[in-house]
């Protein structure tokens, strides 16, 4: 079979694909994307066109309730022993609609700040510091919901607590909007993909940015000054999952892929390329020491405790966020 995989950059390295193809005889076609586009594509196709997708765990429940684009996952077909149990349980709980489970965890990581510590380290300690005049024109972030959430925390709010209260949430977002609008002058450009940001930082065009932890660690290899920093208000924790699209046509291959990549050695390879740790139990052993070291450097214990994990997004919030993002983009 052909497995059409809709995923994030780095989650399906060529090397792993080749090994998988050699072992199972399936072929793999990879399309790289992000949460919004994954959902949009599945919505447009009514859950077709792909056989396995990897949205973040907070983006499974809402779209499924609204558009019905996923199909339940048969956990019994998976080798559950390959997963870190706590992460598997948490993810399954967060992606349950009705009685059915829709997602299992794959890669996890955090969003925080990537910066050139030599150039911006003194100034930028939290998201809101990106608006400091000292780094004007050297700053970047995404115009996406993590930025809104991150800024909200940095401004002392708790957006996750307000998930159930639309009015409250709107109010928080209003404040974030004002901040981001004011901050706009500082921004060089809003980045879209992980590699784009890495290029901007590596070339020195950007010295500080809101970003995924991976990017910072990878850049650190070339330039010791650049690294990932957990912001003072706490990094945002995310888990990207495996989900079956409603009209996927190669479920067997999909299950085979999940079982294959969750093997510790394989998971370690993915970690090496993507830069993030996986939910594979025991992959730690195979992970590079250097990466572990970087992780520890970025996350002292209190930082780990301070990670804010995304709860599932209730339907409707994204519309509020979308309007905010639009207005920020339009503001002058």
């Amino acid at each position: 079979d052909t497995l059409r995989l809709l995923t994030w950059g780095g989650y399906a390295p060529d090397e792993v694909i080749e090994m998988f193809e050699a072992e199972t005889g399936h072929t793999v076609e990879v399309t790289k994307s992000n949460n919004e586009e994954m959902i949009a594509k599945l919505r447009a196709t009514g859950g077709g066109g792909f056989d396995l997708v990897q949205p973040s765990q907070d983006r499974v429940m809402g779209p499924q309730m609204e558009f019905g684009i996923y199909k339940p996952i048969d956990v019994s077909k998976l080798d559950q022993s390959l997963f870190i149990p706590s992460m598997l349980m948490a993810t399954m709980a967060n992606t349950t609609v009705g009685d059915e489970v829709y997602g299992v965890p794959h890669v996890w990581g955090t969003s925080g700040l990537v910066m050139n510590t030599a150039l911006a380290g003194e100034v930028v300690k939290d998201y809101t510091d990106l608006c400091d005049p000292a780094v004007a024109g050297k700053v970047s972030y995404r115009l996406k919901r993590p930025t809104l959430i991150g800024f909200a925390f940095a401004m002392g709010e708790d957006p996750f607590a307000a998930y159930g209260d639309e009015e409250k949430y709107k109010e928080i977002m209003g404040k974030v909007e004002a901040k981001l609008t004011e901050c706009k002058a500082n921004v060089k450009t809003y980045w879209g993909g992980g590699d784009e940001l890495m290029n901007l930082v590596r070339s020195g065009e950007v010295t500080a940015s809101m970003a995924w932890d991976t990017g910072g660690w990878k850049l650190n290899e070339d330039n010791a000054d650049i690294t990932f920093v957990a912001p003072a208000s706490g990094a945002l924790g995310w888990i990207d999952t495996f989900v079956l699209p409603a009209k996927g046509q190669a479920d067997d291959a999909a299950y085979a892929w999940i079982n294959f990549v969750m093997q510790p050695e394989i998971a370690a390879k993915i970690t090496a390329v993507a830069g993030n740790f996986t939910a594979s139990a025991g992959a730690d052993e195979f992970a590079e020491e250097a990466l572990k070291a970087k992780y520890q450097a970025s996350f002292p214990q209190e930082a780990i405790d301070n990670i804010k994990w995304y709860p599932p997004v209730p339907a409707g919030l994204e519309a509020i966020e979308g309007d905010v993002l639009d207005r920020v983009q339009a503001a002058n």
Binding site: E36, E66, F67, T189, S203, E205, R327, Q329, A330
Partner: protein, 285 residues
């Protein structure tokens, strides 16, 4: 004989009707219907004008809409100004081989995808790019200069991308202007300015109109150039359509935007045609 003609007619009409009906007319009607819909809750919809209300009251949408229109007009005007002397040179000054070669050179960028052209401008304009380095090397700047991510960069890209569609119709119409008509203009006492104003430009009008229409359409409907070269403020209307469809999954609003864009382009094209008293058929066909 008559029967044959009838059968032939139907055989030839069918593909045309299928094509225009299934891919142009009905989809647009469907899009209009979607835009007239409001989502009440999961799977429940109501027909009303709320999407248009939203599109017309939200300052962001309206502003982007006008901004896109005005910038497209500007891009069209700049393209015309740059292209006209060149087209004139190719059509009337260059002769023989040179003329052919110059004309071919104008076509080359068109044969390469817009993405590549835009990519080229990114390499040139970015802070670590060629021009920035050149300026530093020449001593005109003492630190890297960012030329990407602003309206000017976007304009450069738009103009570049559209250039061919202005040059070709201009060259074609100008070539059809008989040299002897220009000579007659001089022979009867005219000078460069009056010949240009009274003879060359009126003659080139059809080319100017069709060039402007095409360039305007291309600018208005462009997605790549504004997203890649434009800055954080350079939101383009097509981006909003994309966002509504792909990022927000809000097809109703997206369809509304699509329809607004369609109306805008139709109105401006119609206006240009009216202004010059030409039909679409004469201009495009």
């Amino acid at each position: 004989m008559r029967l044959h003609a009838r059968i032939g007619f139907i055989l030839l009409l069918t593909p045309l009707v299928l094509w225009l009906g299934m891919l142009i007319v009905i989809p647009h009607i469907d899009m209009l219907l979607i835009s007239l819909r409001e989502r009440i809750s999961f799977g429940v919809y109501e027909t009303n004008l709320s999407q248009y209300e939203k599109a017309l009251t939200e300052p962001l949408y309206l502003r982007t809409f006008w901004r896109t229109a005005v910038m497209s007009v500007l891009a069209t005007a700049i393209t015309l100004l740059i292209a006209f002397p060149v087209a004139y040179y190719i059509a009337k000054m260059a002769k023989g081989r040179l003329q052919q070669v110059l004309f071919m050179l104008c076509l080359i960028p068109f044969y390469v995808s817009e993405l590549v052209r835009t990519f080229g401008w990114m390499i040139l304009l970015r802070e670590t790019g060629l021009i920035s380095n050149l300026l530093q090397w020449a001593g005109l700047a003492d630190q890297p200069v960012e030329m990407l991510y602003n309206d000017a960069a976007m304009m450069v890209g738009l103009v570049y991308t559209s250039m061919l569609f202005m040059v070709v119709p201009l060259v074609t119409t100008l070539e059809s202007l008989d040299d002897s008509v220009i000579e007659a203009g001089y022979d009867l006492g005219g000078n460069g300015v009056s010949v240009l104003r009274e003879i060359i430009i009126p003659h080139a009008m059809p080319g100017i109109v069709s060039g402007c229409i095409v360039v305007f359409m291309l600018s208005l409907g462009n997605y790549l150039t504004p997203t890649m070269l434009g800055g954080k403020d350079s939101l383009w209307f097509t981006e909003m359509i994309y966002n509504q469809f792909i990022v927000r999954s809000n097809w109703e609003l997206g369809a509304t935007f699509g329809f607004m864009l369609l109306v805008l382009s139709s109105v401006i094209v119609w206006g240009m045609l009216r202004l010059t008293g030409r039909t679409l058929q004469e201009t495009m066909g």
